[in-house]
């Protein structure tokens, strides 16, 4: 079952990513990205990170991607136009990305034996759930970073408001 989950949602994620790349209209790219994120949520769940799977759905695809879609519609972004330099970007972009992929996979593949295999649900202690494990760490040892992130979000809100409002 692990394998089935992995293959199905892995392929879905890759397909969504490729669609993001290949579509010309940004709204299509945004919706493909939503698909990618949903698949990733399932993959997280399969790796035993239930809390994160939920967070991924709620925060990432439910808030951030919705935000993206809103902005696209607000700005009425149209199809992409050809400009000068697009040729150059093809020449740089594809090989560059391929190179990075080769690099990363080389590393991962050369260590694949050390990495072992996946157990569905993970190794976490069944007495405690994933979320209590996470919060146990988050609210004790990492309390300060946690509070700082809330300040960060506050600052981001302020920034967004200031930057995006109409000039009076």
């Amino acid at each position: 079952m692990q394998l089935a989950l992995f293959i199905l949602f892995g392929v879905l994620a890759v397909a969504g990513a490729l669609n993001l790349l290949l579509q010309r209209h940004p709204i299509n790219s945004a919706l493909s990205l939503v698909v990618v994120m949903m698949s990733l949520a399932v993959l997280y769940w399969s790796l035993g990170a239930e809390f994160l799977a939920a967070a991924q759905v709620i925060v990432y695809s439910g808030a951030i991607m919705v935000f993206f879609v809103f902005v696209i519609m607000l700005l009425n972004a149209g199809e992409e136009e050809r400009t000068h330099g697009s040729r150059a970007s093809y020449i740089v972009g594809f090989p560059g990305a391929a190179a990075i992929f080769c690099l990363l996979s080389f590393v991962f593949l050369s260590e694949r034996h050390a990495l072992g295999t996946v157990n569905v649900g993970g190794y976490l202690n069944h007495i405690t759930s994933n979320i209590s494990e996470v919060s146990a760490l988050l609210f004790t040892k990492l309390l300060l970073p946690f509070e700082v992130t809330s300040v960060l979000i506050l600052v981001a809100i302020l920034g967004a408001v200031v930057l995006a409002r109409k000039e009076q």
Partner: protein, 103 residues
Amino acid sequence: MSVQVPVAAYLILAAVLFSIGVAAFLIKRNLITVFMSIELMLNAVNLTFVAFAHRWHQVSGQIFVFFVMVVAAAEAAVGLAIIIAIFRTRETLNVDSVDLMKS
């Protein structure tokens, strides 16, 4: 009972997503699409972290992902606000037209 999926497979998947994100970042001409490719890259990294957290039975990898998500959210908010501001002045979302910083 069935074939075990190696952790490396998840990592390779994440690498694929990451490189597609890089490609999209370099190729696409719309500002918002470029931004979305950044999000894609971040997600790929998140997957890597979760895979490693699973491998070493530690929850700190997941904590990392948590913080990445928070930061990504904040970044998306501010970034899109900037894009809106740019759009107001320039009337275009083309990446190549935002070149005032040319030296």
